[in-house]
């Protein structure tokens, strides 16, 4: 187990090391200015300096993205369930969901600021919207793709609509819902950072805009790396939950 993990990751790891090395050498060789492209070593130094004062920003962004993610997940699952159980409602609204899924939510941000000001609410709305669509669509897909033979079996056995949903369709959609959750988890961090650009007291987005406006490019990189790490941590957490929830699943096929 351990060795196989090592075996799998040494190549990408080596690639990253080489990439960083080349980057370091290139910035020195061509004496590129730090404000334009800092060397990896500059970024590490900068990180050492700012990380101790970073926790309020980190906390704020994490809280924001987790809250938005949770609200978005709840609303997404709720809406998917309603649309699934009420075919008429689905026929009416599903096209809009698909269309709005393909719309960059961020463009709504200025409008939301006009309506709700610079507090947390417009930010939460943006994150919620960003998380809502992948979850609603994946859950709905999972519900409707339920194995027909299992549905037929349940109906023959006299299952009512509620039993069909809770005992078959919902558990059947779990793997599909998780693929939505993974996308939403990454979106939530991105949406949180971007929404902080609009104006906030704290947050990685704020830190980033401040650093950028004073050309402290190393700091911008630090912020980018932190955002990436949060995003990856989210992803890993969801992956862990997924492993726990669908431990029954065989690789490849099921049923």
């Amino acid at each position: 187990m351990k060795t196989s993990l090592l075996k799998r990751i040494w190549r990408p790891f080596l690639a990253i090391l080489i990439f960083l090395g080349l980057w370091e050498v290139a910035t020195r060789l061509f004496s590129i200015e730090e404000w334009l492209l800092p060397a990896p070593s500059d970024i590490v130094m900068e990180a050492r300096n700012v990380i101790p004062t970073f926790s309020p920003h980190l906390g704020s962004t994490v809280t924001l993205s987790v809250s938005g993610f949770l609200i978005g997940t709840t609303v997404g699952l709720g809406v998917a369930t309603i649309l699934h159980l009420m075919p008429r409602v689905r026929e009416t609204f599903f096209p809009f969901i698909i269309i709005s899924q393909n719309m960059p939510i961020i463009v709504l941000a200025p409008l939301l600021v006009i309506w709700f000001g610079f507090n947390a609410l417009p930010k939460l709305i943006i994150i919620t919207l960003a998380c809502f669509f992948p979850i609603a669509v994946s859950a709905l897909g999972g519900f409707t793709q339920t194995n027909r033979e299992l549905v037929h079996y349940m109906k023959m056995m006299g299952a009512n609509k509620a039993q069909l949903f809770w005992k078959l369709e919902l558990p059947h959609a779990v793997p599909s819902i998780f693929s939505g959750l993974k996308i939403a988890g990454t979106y939530s961090v991105m949406a949180a950072v971007v929404s902080e650009w609009l104006g906030a007291q704290k947050g990685i987005g704020v830190f980033m805009t401040l650093a950028a406006s004073s050309y402290r490019t190393s700091r911008v990189f630090v912020a980018i790396i932190v955002a990436m790490v949060i995003s990856l941590a989210f992803y890993g957490l969801i992956l862990l939950l997924e492993k726990f929830f669908i431990r029954w699943q065989q690789k490849g096929e099921n049923a």
Partner: protein
Amino acid sequence: MLELHNVSKSFGQKQVLQEISLHVADGEFVSLIGPSGSGKSTLFNLIGGLLGPDAGDIYLNGEEITNKRGFISYMPQQASLFPWKTILENVLLGQELQGKKDYTRAEAMLERAGLGGVIHAYPHELSGGMKQRVAFIRALLSPQSLMLLDEPFSALDEFTRTDMQKWLLSIWEDYEQSILFITHSIDEALFLSDKIIILSVNPAEIKDVIKVPFKRPRDGDLLLSEEFLQWKKKIIDVIQF
């Protein structure tokens, strides 16, 4: 127990079943044989209440169940086990839908059926034959007194199939449930049933009902006996006529 009175069903212009009347007694094993597309599964959907007949009524234990669901237990051709449930949870599904789960009885039954080793396994860990066994136990554990089995063994290979038939009899003979069983195999129908109903096609009508005289418990030797072959010939004659 189960009675169908002049049940007819069409899909659009196409009449599938015409005035089917049949009877399954308490504890009886009845097989339905007929060509592919004759409407056997449709008949099951009618009895299960998934479809309504165009004409005719269906009674179970004297109570009308036309268009009503939940009165029968069912085993389909594909095992249709829930992949996220263990074998134990799977066999309890019929009980779960009707109310109370009896774990002790289910465990005892799985032990008896030779499935004691896989009680906590998941369906994907089982072979096709084992899955069908689980599906049969699931149907048997459901509280309903009539079981509908739609070609339960047709996806299995010949060896597994004969084993399964013997196994099914060995388990079922201790229970009171009645069985209505769809099959394409005359051997299977003869070996398992008390009564065989032969259907025609386009639309399906009952061609003949044959009482099978073999005594129970039955064993594999029966399949090779002279008497068995004679009955088989008789059924082939009915089908070809």
